[in-house]
Amino acid sequence: MRNPLSKNVVNIKPSGIRKFFDIVTEMKDAISLGVGEPDFDTPWHIREEGIYSLEKGRTFYTSNSGLKELRMEICHYLHRRFNLQYDYEHETVVTVGGSEAIDLALRAMVDPGDEVLIPQPCFVSYYPCTVLSGGVPVVIELKEENNFKLTRSELLSSITDKTKILILPFPNNPTGAVMDYDDLKDIVDIIIEKDLYVISDEIYSELSYGEKHVSIASFPGMRERTIVINGFSKSYAMTGWRLGYAAGPALIIEQMTKIHQYAIMCAPTTSQYAAIEALKNGDSDVEMMKDAYDKRRRYLVHAFNNIGLKCFEPFGAFYVFPCIKSLNMTSEEFATQLLLEEKVAVVPGTAFGDCGEGYLRISYAYSIDNIKIAMERIERFVSKHLPMTNR
């Protein structure tokens, strides 16, 4: 028999999270600070709208790019929140989560051999999706001393004459880093000068705890070279609804919609109706959840610094990324031992790129009571394993 598998696919490394997931599921009564999704239920008025759409029998396909009313609301939202202007008809596509939008954007823009710049640590899908689309991933290793922001010099030194796309994942999963107006301003002229395109993954944009989120597409000259990716999972606690979207120049969105049309057809109809309600009447929910995350964020940063694990202050998403280099363990050893000894599940930083070595991703999408118990156990674990000299 012939080998049924594609070499391209087989060569992709399985996700580091997956490997750890298998160990965690063995552990019965573990508590966790390891998830990448909100602990809140989707607000009831949004769920209710989804239920209502089912009662009305709205169980058919929508147009490929999504319900017109939803796309109009998305454009209102992007304008109202981030001062971005898009034409709903030609410049938006509703996707199955932000993840699909990432895949579509890469597949629509990458030719074999094109280099795609991926700042790490970052979400797990950019690298494999680049490989699957025939591109060459080029990793930029972000540094804690720069608060895990992408700097001008890091960007410049990674660009070759094959570089076509920069992925900009801020607010960042796993580090919680953000790029504010000045940080972005610093790199915009290089992007334009080197004629790069940007895939700006802004799925955590609503969870910015310092200044208001700024989209790179709002800079002069950037709109025509940026695909903005956003969605409902994080801001409205709607992960299971699988709904995201992309907005960008018609030239690119048109091709993305073509792939979406053939591969997916359309995003789930029920979710689309619920999402209209989210955009219309969900602002106070977002505010309430952000406020709760912010309290936990402060609590965790304080707690980690207190037990002697240096933790830079993250201003976005719902993760802290403490440094464990003072212990003589790798991230994976730390996470595994912590699970075995104290039954707390956290994700090793290496799941988000090699440069995540020496860090852990701790999620604060948990109740403060849960966080407290977990932190007590982590403290006990650290004091047991911290070398004498570092105490």
Partner: protein, 160 residues
């Protein structure tokens, strides 16, 4: 800061001053000072516990009574409301708009006890024109918190 503290403890009065200070990005001194002020000004009027008595053996009944009253010249409804809320059985008294004047919420050990209170204490008051008593059969949610068991975290233990 006052509003931030109030919102933070509205649903959880157990938060310690230390935790509040960390979570609100403030200092323990500031939080204690503000809490003291709020108590002095009677903005924070108490720190009760939300108990689901249905799950405890001891019997309790709650009744909501619609009361129509004659307001008194110069005093409006306040005087009669005060006469009513002084009774220990009375949990809450609200002045209402609409078809009746006061909502009075009573808690007693038995239905008879509540009925006695209405018949012997409340209804005979001079200013009270009429009462309509509704007994509570089951409580689902109070103070913004569901009284049913919190549901289990159904998320996977880790996810990207």
């Amino acid at each position: 800061m006052r509003e931030k503290i109030l919102l933070a403890i509205d649903k959880n009065s157990k938060l310690s001053v230390e935790d509040l200070a960390i979570m609100l990005g403030s200092s323990e001194e500031e939080v204690s000072t503000v809490l003291k002020q709020l108590e002095d000004e009677h903005i924070i009027c108490g720190y009760p516990t939300l108990i689901n008595w249905d799950k405890v053996k001891c019997e309790r009944v709650t009744a909501l009574i619609e009361v129509k009253v004659t307001p008194q010249r110069g005093l409006g409804f306040d005087k009669i409301a005060e006469r009513i809320y002084q009774f220990d059985e009375v949990q809450s008294v609200y002045l209402m708009s609409g078809g009746f004047d006061l909502t009075v919420i009573i808690e007693g050990k038995t239905m008879r006890e509540v009925a006695n209170f209405v018949a012997a204490k409340l209804a005979p008051m001079e200013a009270v024109q009429s009462t309509a008593t509704h007994f509570v059969l089951k409580k689902y949610k109070e103070h913004g918190l569901p009284l049913v068991q919190a549901k289990q975290d159904e998320r996977m233990l880790i996810s990207p």
